[in-house]
């Protein structure tokens, strides 16, 4: 006779616990079951084309943030991963990319590509999905959309077009003798024309006579005729809005022809990058141009040095700006803000609550405290006006130290004295 073997008690206990666990997991909502899955943040980025230099630098900064947060345990306890596509600096590619990110890749959060022209085409798609949209360096994009879940990290202020150049004019009007006339010059692109439109408003408000107001095509090779025409119109101030090739050409032509004005600069993109700083060198002395960060003691925010060390270690290999003072800290910060908001709200699903939280909170980031106005721009402008001073040669090391891009505006972060006028300051 074969003895009947009964299962030991521990087998029954194990089976029971397993059954209970299985039942519990089966009845959980699908979002909770997916908790072990990474959180996907989707975006398009200018990795090739005209704005690739900044787009790639932004990506390096964003990857540093991703690695940092994953080392700390992730977001809501989940690892973070990026899903991104190169938009080739072509606005026409952007709607398709965000449609794919949202409908095919099913990303949890979206952030923007770099620059005004690449943010605007994504807006209708994001607005339709009612998602929070953290954006990177768009100038006055939300003026047209009035989207209450739009947040922009560039510190241009609540009236972006005018705040962008406000410091330039406040500095100029505080000088004696007071300047009376201005020349305005912009690249034929949306960003530069927006910047100069704000400068035009500020100039008219200040009662300055606009003696020259022109745009030029991207790809202009020689700026000598333009600089001569500006000089012939006899302005006290010259405000320029342009991209790096234009900035280099205009600065060189101004030096070669001895431009004789009281203030020169304004909204020239490129004079923040090592490539142009080192090659233009002393030709920059005396110019007053916008900036967003410089290694001045008044801008030494918690975490910025640590971030820049990590960025600069990766910049060589990535072939991007070795200094990383301009865009990268802000590319890190816009993700810091998004993450702080998600952690505080505790959910990825309710974008209304996320937006509400971002609107009412002041965030501590590597670019300092950030709070937003109703239109999603910084509540208070912090567009710096820096003056290039004491640049002696093309040595990059000097730009890691204070005293070369002296902050003149705004007053609460001022780090040195204004040398005026341009002709003697150079």
């Amino acid at each position: 006779m074969v003895p009947i073997r009964t299962k030991p008690l521990r087998v029954w206990v194990f089976a029971g616990v397993f059954a209970i666990l299985f039942a519990a997991v089966a009845t959980l909502p699908s979002t909770a079951r997916a908790d072990s899955h990474p959180i996907k943040i989707g975006f398009s980025m200018t990795l090739t084309g005209g704005l690739a230099a900044n787009g790639k630098a932004a990506l390096v900064a964003m990857e540093i943030w991703r690695d940092d947060i994953n080392k700390k345990g992730g977001l809501l306890g989940r690892q973070v991963e990026f899903v991104y596509y190169d938009d080739s600096t072509n606005p026409a590619n952007v709607p398709g990319i965000y449609t794919k990110l949202l409908n095919v890749d099913k990303v949890d959060l979206v952030v923007s590509s770099y620059g005004t022209n690449l943010i605007a085409p994504a807006m209708p798609i994001i607005m339709k999905k009612k998602m929070v949209f953290m954006t990177l360096f768009g100038l006055a994009v939300n003026d047209r959309f009035n989207y209450d879940r739009y947040f922009q990290i560039m510190p241009s202020g609540p009236v972006p077009k005018e705040d962008w150049s406000r410091g330039f004019f406040e500095l100029a009007l505080a000088q004696s003798p007071k300047p009376t006339s201005i020349a305005l010059l912009a690249t034929d692109s949306e960003f530069a024309k927006n910047a100069v439109a704000g400068a035009r408003t500020n100039a008219e408000r200040a009662g300055l006579k606009i003696v020259y107001d022109e745009t030029f095509k991207p790809g202009t090779a020689d700026f000598s005729p333009i600089v001569r025409a500006i000089q012939a119109s006899g302005p006290d101030l010259v405000y320029v809005g342009c991209y790096p090739p234009g900035a280099a050409g205009i600065v060189r032509a101004a030096n070669e022809l001895g431009l004789d004005v009281k203030m020169f600069g304004g909204g020239m993109v490129g004079l923040q990058y090592a490539a142009l700083l080192t090659k233009l060198g002393p030709q920059l002395n005396g110019m007053v141009n916008y900036d967003f960060w410089a290694p001045e003691p008044t801008l030494n925010f918690p975490g910025i040095e640590e971030f820049l060390k990590k960025y600069q270690a990766k910049a060589g290999e990535a072939g991007v700006d070795p200094l990383g003072h301009y865009l990268p800290p802000y590319a890190y910060a816009y993700l810091e803000i998004l993450a702080q908001a998600v952690e505080a709200v505790g959910s990825l699903d309710d974008h209304g609550k996320l937006a509400e939280y971002i609107h009412k909170t002041t965030f501590n980031t590597v670019v300092g405290p950030v709070s937003f106005a109703d239109n999603g721009e910084w509540a208070k402008s912090r567009v710096l006006m820096v003056q290039f001073q004491n640049i002696e040669d093309g040595n990059i090391e000097q730009f890691h130290k204070p005293g070369k891009r002296v902050v003149l505006y705004p007053g609460d972060v001022k780090s040195g004295e204004f040398k005026y006028p341009y002709t003697s300051a150079r």
Binding site: S233, E256, K279
Partner: protein, 291 residues
């Protein structure tokens, strides 16, 4: 605002700019004008020239023009190689019109991506003692940044014109687009001649790239802004005419400079292309082209 000072400086600046345009368009004048090959990637090869010059200038401190000249043999070989692929893939089978154009579009993107992979996407500039200096003759200002490219372009154009008109191979290049059969009867191999011509066209891109990076910063996709302008210059000058290409480049340069000075820079392109259209209405073959 008109003054003799402004006018004379605008004319001189236009001539200097036109000289640079001539250097960029010269290779295309040979390849497109004489061989009928729509090498839309030519400006991308010019950018490649800028980057290799940047590399030697940064690493060895070589003068950019000298560096550009040193790279001409390498670009020549590259040109021969590219033409051989183009010939085998498209010209030999008579598919050069649309497929050939797509081929050069592809080359353009491959070059851009290759440059990005090697050098990254940051803007690049070069150092030279004369950059930033200006020669002043009376009321005329001559920035060396524009003067050196102008003189180099003139020398290169003269050299190419001399080679094409005074040597057997040069005349064979001129002949290959006109009567290939007659050339074969003369004992010359048209494919070899076309390879040579394509190589020369690309060799000029090395020098043009050096001149471009002397004038201003470059980034990998910067060549795209020159595509329309260089084709316009070649067509305005008359297909295949080196003399015409030079004159057209100077004409475009001067018209751009005058418009920038006296009307406004936003009109510069419109006026330059109006000059092209007007010329083509009056002389459909271009300034020095044959009907």
């Amino acid at each position: 605002m008109f003054s003799i000072d402004l006018l004379s400086n605008a004319l001189v600046a236009g001539l200097l700019l036109g000289g640079f345009y001539a250097a960029v368009a010269l290779g295309l004048s040979i390849v497109f004008g004489q061989l009928d090959i729509v090498n839309i990637a030519h400006p991308a090869f010019v950018i490649l020239g800028s980057y290799v010059v940047y590399m030697t200038n940064t690493a060895l401190g070589l003068d950019p023009v000298l560096a550009g000249l040193l790279f001409t043999p390498l670009f020549f070989v590259l040109g021969v190689f590219v033409y051989r692929i183009y010939y085998s893939g498209f010209e030999r089978t008579g598919r050069e019109s649309l497929a050939g154009l797509a081929f050069f579009f592809g080359i353009m993107f491959i070059l851009e991506v290759t440059i990005i992979l090697i050098y990254g996407v940051d803007y690049r500039l070069v150092n030279a003692a004369y950059i930033g200096q200006t020669l002043r003759i009376g009321i005329i200002d001559l920035p060396y940044r524009m003067l050196v490219p102008f003189l180099t372009a003139m020398a290169m154009t003269a050299g190419i014109a001399f080679y094409l008109s005074r040597t057997f191979t040069g005349r064979a290049i001129l002949a290959v687009s006109q009567d290939r059969l007659a050339l074969e009867l003369m004992g010359a191999n048209p494919i070899r001649i076309k390879s040579l011509a394509f190589g020369i066209g690309l060799a000029t891109a090395a020098v043009a790239g050096a001149l471009l990076i002397i004038i201003g910063p470059v980034e990998p996709s910067f060549g795209r802004v020159y595509i329309g302008r260089v084709f316009a210059i070649v067509i305005l000058g008359g297909m295949g005419s080196i003399k015409g290409t030079l004159l057209a480049a100077l004409l475009i340069g001067v018209s751009e400079s005058l418009v920038q000075t006296f009307i406004g820079p936003s009109w510069a392109d419109a006026v330059a292309f109006s000059v092209l259209l007007l010329t083509l209405v009056l002389r459909p073959q271009g300034l020095f082209g044959r009907l």
